[in-house]
Amino acid sequence: MLKYTLKRIGAMVPVMLIISVVVFLIIYLTPGDPASSMLGMEASADQIERVNDSLGLNEPLPQRYVEWMGGVLTGDLGDSYFMRQPVTQAIAEHFGPTLSLALLAQLIALLIALPCGVVAALKHGSRTDAVLRVVALLGVAIPGFLMALMLMWLFAVTLRVFPVAGYAPLSKGWFSHLRYLALPAISLGCVQAALLMRMTRASVIEAMQLDCVKTARAKGVSEVRVVLAHALRNAALPILTSVGYSFGALITGAVVTEAIFNIPGLGQLVTSSIERRDYPVIQGVLLVVALLNSVINLAVDLAYGAFDPRARKWGDS
């Protein structure tokens, strides 16, 4: 297990290095320099040159990468051009709403996906299964932002049950926090639920064929116990894995959903930074999200390896 863990962590280093180069290059290759957008249209060439100099934009590429990377490794992502604050601080300030949204969406997804997936699996081939499959297919086909628009139209504009847009931090109390997050989280969670439900259904069907399930039945264990204690337990691992892997999809969804509901999270930070050509912020968010994503995937893989020795063979072939 230790060998597997080290190997897995070792494999992450080159990946992170590549992410850093990609993220760095994306911004480097961007046309339109930040100096002229900071100074406005009337800036003289001389002024622009001075700002470029002070931002270190005139140095050769490899040197800029090494300097930037040196900062990154010590937890310094640079300063925002626009907000006059460190990027790490800006990210920290915008992280909460995104995390709240993602967790709530994941919770909603699980609450929908687990029961539906198990029912579909136990009755697979039946009409209930067919209906659930069509619903899941619809859920995958409806992008989060469309779901968001439809929910907004129905619940906020027509029925006026929820606020149209905005955000209330947790400090203003649970109720208003959840009230503002409800529609965005449901729209994000539904898409997620569709994916998880398919996964749950497939793994429960597979688990029901296992020998231990047959043995339990033969012993006369009740059907409820067979499903809960034997089948679900075996199906839990692939389900948990897809929950972990789906983090990337959730963050992506959150970026767009935040823009619709005007939630001051990471997504809004990125979209507003693009308009301001605030490169360090875009770089920082991309890097942090990619890192988080990799770490979560690593944790999922390690957990999988810990529970299922067969998975540890990774990389031995």
């Binding site: 290095l17 992410i19 409806i142 497939a202 990337g248 991309l286």
Partner: protein, 276 residues
């Protein structure tokens, strides 16, 4: 290949999905010839007018005919989808098939794929669009960069298996060149997972284009796209449900039909991954 095609045609999902999709593609292709209203002609007196016989889908916030705009939007969305699928397929095949032939190259390419894949797709697309500026071509380039790694990985994992088969070994012993083995023997054998993935890339590309245009980073007004009609529709949601309803229905219909076809294709060609 023919046998595969017959197997796919026996699958209900593939046939239904494929037919719906072909119908949408047909509308995109001949729609502008039948419904000849100019999608960019503004008529301020018709601003936000509800669906009527003269304007079956109603008019938008500039008094433009929505039906004409949704049809033109279909051309943009499906065009982007086709272009991204072609680019991703070509790159994915070349990278995936050749990667398994050179361990060093494989290592480098796969780490790059891992790196790109660990940045969530739309976020990467957003950053790329911010860098290149909003235009149809840039949407195609950005989305191709986003979807190529997963395609290359799928091709590679299948190619790795095929490469070890005795017939490939035999070919090599007989002195067949790498190019010959790759293109005449490995590529035909990776077709099943490749085609399935291509259908999903198409669906994803349509969705992502809509999301990018919705955020104002994709196709810019006055050119119509499903995403930017929705963007305009969001602001007038209270007064004009049709500005959300029609483009949304178009997006859902095309993505649903592609997913249906992709699922059917997978069940037909790849019995191992069949869901039940």
């Amino acid at each position: 290949m023919m046998a595969n095609f017959k197997k796919a045609l026996a699958n209900k999902g593939f046939v239904v999905g494929g037919c719906i999709f072909l119908a949408i593609a047909l509308i995109a292709l001949v729609g502008p010839l039948v419904w000849t209203v100019n999608p960019n002609a503004q008529e301020m007196t018709l601003r936000l007018s509800a669906p009527s016989p003269a304007h079956p889908f109603g008019c938008d916030d500039f008094g433009r005919d929505l039906l004409a705009r949704v049809i033109v939007g279909a051309r943009v969305s499906l065009g982007v989808g086709i272009a991204v699928t072609l680019a991703t397929s070509a790159l994915g095949l070349v990278i995936g098939a050749y990667a398994c032939y050179n361990e060093r190259l494989d290592h480098i390419l796969m780490r790059i794929c891992d790196g790109l894949m660990s940045i969530p797709g739309v976020l990467l697309a957003i950053a790329l669009m911010a860098m290149m500026g909003a235009s149809v071509w840039n949407v195609i380039i950005a989305l191709s960069i986003v979807y190529t790694p997963s395609m290359a990985r799928i091709v590679r994992s299948r190619a790795m298996v095929v490469k070890e088969e005795p017939f490939v070994e035999a070919l090599r012993v007989q002195g067949a060149s790498t190019a010959r083995i790759v293109w005449l023997h490995i590529v035909p054998n990776v077709m099943a997972p490749f085609l399935v993935q291509a259908t999903f890339v198409f669906a994803e590309a349509v969705l992502s284009e809509a999301a990018l245009s919705f955020l104002g980073l994709g196709i810019k007004a006055p050119d119509a796209s499903w995403g930017n009609i929705l963007q305009a529709g969001k602001n007038v949601m209270r007064k004009a449900w049709w500005m959300i309803f029609f483009p949304a229905a178009a997006i859902i219909a095309s993505v649903l039909s592609l997913n249906l076809a992709g699922d059917g294709l997978r069940d037909a060609l790849d019995p191992k991954t069949k869901e039940d």
